[in-house]
Amino acid sequence: MNLKPETLSKIDEVITHYPTKRSATLPLLHLIQEDVGHLPPDTSEWVAAKLELQPINVLEVITFYPMFRQKPIGRRHIKVCRTLSCALLGGYKTCATFEQEFHTHLGEVSPDGEVTVDFVECLASCGTAPVVMIDDELHEKVDCAKAKQLSDQIKAEAQKR
């Protein structure tokens, strides 16, 4: 595991928040995923050694929680809310717009490597449906036009790189 020094120091700090080391499992997985982009194959071994657990104790956590991913994704992660309030206001069309714009399908890395589009469940912003999270940012009232506009922005940023 090749982690940044900041990540390692955050890991050591967060372990002190709990009376048992095992409680730091989720925080460590978040920190590793933020650093690497996904959880590489040696994650379970590494976290287990750090927290004095068995690797299976970590692997079962990784596979339980939808936010943890064991494979790389596109440069940006587009998460469209699928649940009822968003669907009632066109969430499925919003999602399809992103898929078309990036020539991709749910859960895949787009051919240009730029994005992965996923459906997620209710994001607790149902009053401004349909909502979409792009990486850490919440976007509200994302109809097809706004989805197109957000896609154009992502493409423009990719061009500049």
Binding site: V61, L88, A124
Partner: protein
């Protein structure tokens, strides 16, 4: 009757122009004064105020907060933990989000008052993983409060010490269930625990007595500590005290969050006056009043029976619009106030498709420990999505009902009820639409129809 005025005590500063989430702004608005006074009182007095207030939990079950605090095992000699349930993941619910993002110090101050009252030395805020900014905002707020000696060692020179840490979830709805949350905080899969024996008040986090309260519930505690339980109980109606925040989403003109004295507003006032009624040219068809697990109501149905008003029993005969939006009235008509998430559907919605959407949610979110819930939620999803995307059969309604009926009461946690109530109530209220669905499918949909699944 016109709708009552909003009374914003918890959402007082939400969306207020110029109000920021730093401690400076909070202090300018009188922040932490209640904590200063609270730590000079006896903890038991504060618990008494909460008992007197009649405050009921805002996380979903409506359990009296003072009673919950009274059940905490204080004789075991073990530390007592407090967990703020900030998992906000019941579909249709969006209130804790705004408290945490826009007014985080209100939550920190409320948490510290509740910790002091219960002799808690360590609190955790369990925030859902999809709110990374929320987690950072809370961490910054805690650091500011610690620097000002409102959190941490020897708070305000009283000798009382208490820490708060933020703990992030990772996208699993079941972490909102309090014992699933505790497992998750212990670093495991969020498999809820069986009760008895694992009542959090006795055997909670690290097998120690633990209080789990919703974000909004705790914010009410601050108001109660400031104004007294008796004064708080004057807001709202007996049995449903204080204010209630309604989160309205779906097919209304003005979706959003609205705070009213509990029990003073009816469904009709909320949806027609406050939220501006249906979208142009549409009619209300159905509403789910308390988060997606609450049983659905059909516009046009009537509810009759007797209810207690003061000491007398009086007859009631309500349409959906007439129902007061409080825990007891909604309970009486066979649904629940739950988390305050009101999801509205108009006459463009096909109920089979709406149920298919909800069923997909529950089958995705079942933790999988109990066979009736794991298999039942999956089959309900498979059947409803086959009805929509494949072949629909006349016997599907009966089949769905038989699956749903076999889940509740046979599972470890209340998710079993939560996932079966939508199917049971949709079929009970809209059985005709399920029966007609094979026919409905033969006619082409309008070009602008929205897909729900």
């Amino acid at each position: 009757m016109p709708a009552p005025e909003q009374l914003r005590i918890i959402f007082k500063h939400i969306d207020e122009p110029g109000y920021t989430n730093d401690i400076g702004c909070y202090l300018r608005n009188g922040g932490y004064e209640v904590l200063k006074k609270a730590v000079a009182r006896k903890p038991e007095e504060l618990i008494d105020e909460v008992k007197k207030s009649g405050l009921r939990g805002r996380g979903g079950a409506g359990f009296p907060c003072g009673v919950k605090w009274g059940l905490v095992d204080r004789k075991s000699g073990k530390p007592i933990y407090l967990i703020v349930n900030a998992d906000e993941s019941e579909p249709g619910t969006f209130k804790d989000r705004y408290i945490m993002h826009q007014d985080p110090h209100q939550l920190i101050e409320s948490t510290m008052i509740s910790c002091f009252a219960n002799n808690v030395k360590q609190a955790y805020i369990y925030i859902r993983g999809e709110m990374p900014h929320g987690a950072r905002i809370l961490e910054k707020a805690i650091a500011e409060a610690r620097a000002a000696n409102f959190v941490g060692p020897n708070i305000l020179g009283t000798g009382y010490s208490c820490e708060i840490f933020v703990h992030r979830g990772a996208g699993a709805y079941i972490c909102g269930e309090e014992t699933g949350l505790i497992e998750s905080l212990e670093g495991k899969r969020a498999n809820p625990r069986i009760k008895p024996p694992y009542f959090p008040a006795v055997l909670g986090l690290y097998q120690c007595p633990t209080i789990v309260n919703n974000v909004e519930t705790l914010c009410h505690v601050k108001y109660i500590a400031e104004h007294g339980g008796a004064e708080y109980a004057k807001i709202g109606t007996p049995g449903n005290t204080g204010t209630r925040i309604f989160c309205v989403s779906g097919h209304v003109q003005r979706p959003g969050y609205y705070e009213f004295p509990a029990g003073t507003i009816t469904m009709g006032q909320l949806l027609n006056e406050v939220c501006g009624g249906p979208l142009p040219g549409r009619k209300f068809k159905a509403v789910i009043p308390g988060g997606s697990s609450a049983k659905i109501l059909r516009f046009g149905e009537r509810f009759k029976g007797k209810r207690k008003v003061g000491t007398e029993l009086v007859d009631y005969d309500w349409g959906v619009e007439d129902v007061p939006m409080d825990f007891d009235s909604l309970g009486m008509i066979g649904t629940m106030g739950g988390s305050g998430g009101v999801i509205v559907m108009d006459d463009t919605v096909n109920m089979v498709e709406a149920l298919a959407n909800i069923n997909a949610f529950y089958s995705h979110e079942s933790c999988g420990q109990c066979t009736p819930c794991r298999e039942g939620s999956l089959w309900m999803k498979k059947i409803t999505s086959r009805m929509v995307h494949g072949q629909a059969r006349n016997e599907d309604a009966a089949l769905l009902k038989s699956v749903a009926d076999q889940i509740p009461g046979r599972t470890i946690c209340a998710f079993g009820e939560a996932c079966s109530w939508p199917t049971q109530s949709f079929i009970a209220k809209f059985g005709d639409e399920f029966k007609q669905y094979p026919e409905t499918k033969k006619t082409a949909k309008p070009a602008d129809a929205v897909a729900l699944v």
